[in-house]
Assembly symmetry: C2
Homo-oligomer: 148 residues x 2
DNA sequence: AAATTATTGCAAATGAAATTCATTTGAGCT
DNA sequence: AGCTCAAATGAATTTCATTTGCAATAATTT
């Protein structure tokens, strides 16, 4: 999906919810999209506030991230200790994560068969799934060869 | 595994690490074991402090939960928002969770095939897994019939 | 039993996230 | 364009879970 298209959809979403289309909100989509796929809010705050003009304050960033989650462009993907890592998922197919506990590297993968098994499990328990998250913590190839 | 056996192993663990075997530590294992399989630290703090004698203070509980994680008797299983739900896993086989977002009910399940697929994925990425967590959020059978 | 070292409990500090509130801005209306 | 009003913003403050510093205490070591 094109970023412009996404922004249009976000505008629609906002209007439909009775929210307002503001500069901050639209600019934040840009910023988040160009930040890279995974981010933590506090990093984003620092990064955004170091940019030319103040796109948005810390509170607005927190609020907008929530909105974007509601909209579905963003997802909380990794929760490790007290850190929350978000991911920009707009238009991206669903996937899971391998997280290197040494260097923090994040590897994405997708397995249709895991999805299918989950569906079966949910059916079995008459459970209606909304979303899921599979986090595999471990050591990546690079780190397993390093001596540190 | 018997609780006494577990406590013995925990003592060994402490000694081997150069930590001390204290009353609080041993009593906290008892308390956690009898609390039920899933718990949040704050609940535990309240529950424990309402018991006869003060087994341990809030800080000691936090510190001991960390120790027990290191020892392997406890695991952080669900992270939702800013809540962390722990599980007493000593001697329990590995499993994943379905979490009802309406009533908070937690259903455990285990699928050998999911484990196998994960191993394959890790092999593919030359990733050495340490642990993993699959959380499926959704609505349980009971809640999907309720009108609330 | 004295010496050594880790643990405890309290209070204070931390840090992420939410919230308050005065001010500003967007959207609809004329 | 100007008016109105509800919603959004920014700055500061608060909340809440978790962590930490430190003096007192308890567990090991000798």
């Amino acid at each position: 999906m094109q970023l412009d298209e996404l922004k249009q959809k976000f505008e629609q979403f906002l209007k439909q919810k009775g929210y307002k289309v503001t500069k901050s909100r639209l600019e934040l989509i840009d910023k988040i999209a160009s930040y890279g796929s995974h981010f933590e809010i506090e990093q984003l705050v620092v990064w955004v506030s170091n940019q030319d003009k103040g796109v948005a304050s810390r509170s607005t960033i927190y609020r907008t991230v929530k909105l974007l989650q509601e909209f579905g462009a963003i997802r909380e993907v990794i929760k490790l200790g007290n850190r929350t890592i978000y991911e920009f998922i707009a238009g991206k197919p669903h996937h899971e994560h391998l997280i290197c506990v040494k260097c923090g590297k994040i590897i994405e993968f997708y397995r249709e068969d895991i999805e299918e098994i989950q569906d079966k499990v949910c059916e079995e328990y008459k459970f209606t799934p909304i979303n899921h998250r599979l986090e595999i913590f471990g050591v990546c190839d690079g780190c397993s060869h390093s001596l540190v």
